[in-house]
Amino acid sequence: MAQNRTVAKALAALGGVIVCAPLTALADRPMSVLRSAGPKGDPVLQLNWGLLAISILVVVIIGTLLVLALSRQPQPRLAFDARGPLPVSRPAGGITWIYVGIGLTALTLLGSLVWSMVVLANVAVPSGKGGLELQVIGHQWWWQVNYIGDPISRRFTTANEIHIPVGVPVRITLKSADVIHSFWVPALSGKTDLIPGQTNTTWIEAREAGTYRGQCGEYCGAQHAHMAFSVVADPPATFDAWWQAQLADSPPPTDDSAKAGKIAFVRRCGSCHTVRGTDAGGIYGPDLTHLTQRATIAAGVLPNTPGHRGAWIADPQGIKPGSQMPVLSLSGPEIAAIQAYLATLK
């Protein structure tokens, strides 16, 4: 009997501490899947909580039944050290458990299936017409973002930071330049893979202005861990201003250090990176035309400050080992000059 209580207490304590307590604290984490910031996330969030509640209930019910089954045993308990053969019998009634259990299970599953299908249909496409169109291309290990609206003069490319207007559905086509990645912004949408040779689509819509963190959801090699991005939802006016600013070329540098930096940049960095309005037109790395407008560099690895930019240029392989950004063995003055130039990319 003492052992019963131990089992019961252990199970109860374990259940209480590790199931209930942290669940309530989950919803406000940046990447939490138990949070929704838009019409696509809402029905999924309800389904998440609903099926989670069913699951927890099932675990608690079966756990309770097990504890009860162990504690209602007739006394004295049997033990193997007793002399002679132990009793064996086939008490009736066992099979009823299976009938009742299966009946309840099947009903629950049926309900859950219908609910899942309804949600699936609801979030398949945005309810409203119109909206914004984007193309996201996954690279090892960063995100290329193409704004592909009409007319062509309104198109531009950026990286790792997707700006969208609040309250507008944004249709996104997903492609990959190398291996499989997965587009995932928990607060706005579940995952859709970016698969080479195939074009997938997804959509997002944010109810309120804010920054929503996203991260690659499919293992894609050495730096899969460092392939984050963010979706910044702006009020429509702010968004339009941002777009307008993005369309412009970067202003030419004025001070000498930055001018020298520009020359060094075009020579050393320009075969991979683009800065519109200069001779740097590489397509292998992120477009840096308005670099300083972004919050982070290296796909979310470092905050976008002059110091961090310098550190990144000096030793990309130390910060993000395996990254496609090579160590260029730049001299100290070269780094300082490029740093100064990058600071002008507003």
């Binding site: 252990a10 590790i18 199931v19 942290p22 669940l23 989950l26 984490r29 940046p30 990447m31 939490s32 899947v33 999924v44 389904l47 998440n48 099926l51 099932v58 079966i62 756990g63 097990l66 162990l70 007739p74 308990r77 049997l78 193997f80 132990l86 009793p87 064996v88 019998s89 086939r90 009736a92 066992g94 458990w97 299976i98 259990g101 299966i102 099947a106 599953l109 859950s112 299936l113 949600v119 291996v179 499989i180 997965s182 928990p186 859709t192 893979d193 040779g197 195939q198 963190r213 690659c216 959801g217 499919e218 293992y219 894609c220 090699g221 050495a222 730096q223 899969h224 080992p321 395996g322």
Partner: protein, 649 residues
């Protein structure tokens, strides 16, 4: 027993295990002394124990890899290992646990127990049995050879293309994995065939298919599934290898290949495989738990059918691993539904187990604690699977730690816990000595608490959006504490496994003497001495019910099984062959003698795969030639092995 094909009419006698007949049988069946004898044995008990020991060694290796991974993740932004090392560690951990531990350990139990449970003297194809063990061992060593030289699998066990292709993965890692898996698949296939034939052909007379103990159902179903599933992935790995080495274009996008083809082929195998590595473990509980509840399993027939149905539906759910790949909603709805339907047969088993405890008289023992806790862990792993089966939920939780939590509740909860419980149950049969119960309680509670402390928080970190397969994570996303707790729990769990190892090592020599049936259990294996003699049964028993050793107390059948009186088969190594469904004896099977050829053939395969890896023509040719010669020697017909009446001379 009068069947024309018998070479003779066997005598029916009552004999004991210390009779002159037993002595004669022992000389006929026992493994020859010396190293050659050890390497040549085809005794299923030897092979079974080797399977168990080898797979446990792999479990320990995979566990060490996991602990390093957990050290790296204990805090954000750590550099215990490099990203490349991390990716090899988590990949090798998965490959080790899923392939080199989870199935082989169950094959080990079944290998050891099947002939004893079935009332026979060996597996139907003993040399194939030895071959499948050696092939398992060598394929494991092959994979680990790559790992040791820094070329282990580095793309997870699922090995998605195009990352696994040459442009992204130029080193030999993927060649080791592709060839190593094909090699391993040969072992699984050979083993699967052997289990099928054994279940259908070499049983005690009277053990008709409706009297199969659950251990037979679980392993039989799993191996039937494997025979259908493994070709899919062996083919996929072969295609991967030719894409890499010979420029074929199955997966190569530039030339029109399809990355999703890999995922379909892999998961068409992968999902059935997951059932193959839990169904036999579930059947360990279905057979073991009733012993500690002093009653037959509730709903034996229902649970047996549920086992088979699970496997069948298990072939129709693979796309739930691919819900995020952009497949049409209609297709995904079907697989969502199938993933929910498969819950039903699992629920049959769960309610059967609960009802067995509820209506039985439960006896506390380390084994029964493992079995009871397994039921609860099974439910947790089950409901998290139910959650990921729902397409919209899966879009959020797939590839997060939630799924890592799920897979560990499935593989540790449903495989490791029953296996350890099974070890406490059958160790006395295997060694003649009991495992220490006091140490056993420590073992159980450390494993149980460590496991839940370590792996339950993975669900939490998953719901907080932590992706899986990341070598590190930033501060400030709320993942720090759960990861630290996970690491602590993993180490406690590892201590639990260590306690098990200590218990096995100590009890092997100093444990309490067990006697033939220390648990007063019902199946045939408990009617033999512990450990059983090389020939298993001195006379072959006849079975009249599902519970031969409980018949007198259950008093449910007219007839009685005869355990100590039966056919005397002593003209060489012999056992009875029976009809597949009704187990009516129809042949005296001449069983093969020990042979070193299975080892030699397996070694030549090892050389073949090394040759393929190095693309060295003469080595490949040499290995093929040697393989042909060894096969010829293995299969060379001998009159003494003839299965039919010898013609009158």
């Amino acid at each position: 027993m009068t069947v024309a094909d018998y070479s003779r009419e066997p005598r029916i006698l009552a004999e004991s295990y210390d009779s002159p007949l037993a002595e004669r049988l022992k000389t006929l069946w026992e493994t020859k002394p010396g190293i050659i004898g050890w390497l040549s044995t085809v005794d299923h008990k030897e092979i079974g124990i080797r399977y168990i020991v080898t797979s446990f060694a792999f479990l320990v290796l995979g566990g060490i890899e996991a602990l390093i991974v957990r050290l790296q993740l204990a805090q954000p932004e750590q550099s215990v290992v490099t990203p490349t090392q991390y990716n090899e560690l988590f990949s090798m951990h998965g490959v080790t646990m899923i392939f080199l531990y989870a199935l082989p350990v169950l094959s080990g139990f079944s290998n050891y127990l099947w002939p004893l449970i079935l009332g026979s003297r060996d597996m139907a194809l003993p040399r194939l049995n030895a071959f499948s063990y050696w092939t398992f061992l060598f394929s494991g060593l092959f994979l680990y050879a790559g790992f040791a030289i820094g070329a282990g699998p580095n793309d997870g066990w699922f090995n998605y293309v195009p990352y696994a292709l040459k442009p992204f993965n130029p080193g030999p890692s993927q060649d080791f994995y592709a060839l190593g898996f094909i090699f391993f698949g040969l072992s699984v296939t050979a083993g699967g065939i052997n289990f099928m034939v054994t279940a259908l052909r070499t049983r005690a007379p009277g053990m008709s298919i409706n009297r199969f103990p659950m251990m037979i159902w679980g392993t039989l179903t799993a191996n039937a599934g494997n025979l259908l599933a493994v070709p899919s992935v062996s083919l996929a790995f072969f295609m991967l290898w030719t894409d890499r080495q010979f420029g074929t274009h199955f997966f190569n996008v530039e030339a029109g290949g399809q990355p999703l083809l890999w995922q379909h082929l892999f998961w068409m195998f992968g999902h059935p495989w997951v059932y193959a590595i839990v169904l036999p473990a579930m059947s360990i509980v279905s057979d073991g738990l009733p012993v500690f509840c002093r009653r037959p399993l509730v709903g034996h027939t229902a649970v047996a059918l549920a086992t088979v149905i699970t496997m069948i539906i298990g072939f129709g759910v693979w796309v739930h691993h691919m819900f995020a790949t952009g497949l049409p909603n209609l297709a995904m709805s079907f697989f969502n539904a199938a993933s929910f339907v498969i819950v039903i047969p699992s629920a049959v088993s769960v309610f059967a187990w609960v009802a067995t405890i509820w209506t039985g008289r439960f006896i506390y023992a380390t084994a029964s604690l493992f079995f009871v806790s397994f039921i609860w862990l099974f439910v947790i792993g089950g409901v998290s699977g139910f959650l990921t089966g729902s397409v919209p939920v899966d879009w959020q939780v797939t590839d997060t730690y939630f799924v890592v939590g799920h897979i560990h509740y499935v593989l540790i909860g449903i495989n490791v816990f029953p296996v350890v419980g099974g070890l406490y149950l059958w160790f006395p049969k295997m060694t003649g000595r009991m495992l220490n119960e006091r140490l056993g309680r420590w073992n159980f509670w450390t494993m149980f608490l460590g496991f839940n402390l370590g792996f339950f928080p993975m669900h939490i970190s998953g719901l907080m959006g932590m992706p899986r397969r990341v070598y590190t994570y930033p501060d400030g996303l709320g993942w720090n504490t759960v990861n630290l707790v996970t690491t602590i729990g993993a180490f406690i769990f590892a201590i639990g496994v260590l306690l098990l190892v200590i218990n096995v090592l100590v009890s092997r020599k100093h444990g309490r003497i067990a006697g033939p049936n220390p648990w007063d259990a019902s199946n045939l294996e408990w009617s033999t001495p512990s450990p059983p003699p090389p020939y298993n049964f001195v006379v072959l028993p006849t079975v009249a019910s599902r519970h031969p050793l409980w018949e007198d107390r259950l008093n449910e059948t007219e007839g009685r099984s005869t355990i100590h009186e039966g056919a005397v088969l002593d003209h060489g190594k012999e056992t009875l062959g029976v009809s597949p469904l009704d187990a009516i004896p129809d042949a005296i099977l001449k069983m093969p003698h020990d042979s070193i050829m299975p080892l030699c053939l397996s070694l030549s395969l090892m050389v073949l795969f090394v040759g393929l890896l190095l693309k060295t023509g003469w080595l490949i040719g040499l290995a093929l030639l040697a393989g042909c010669i060894f096969s010829l020697i293995w299969l060379w017909p001998r009159v003494s092995q003839g299965q039919r009446r010898e013609p009158a001379t």
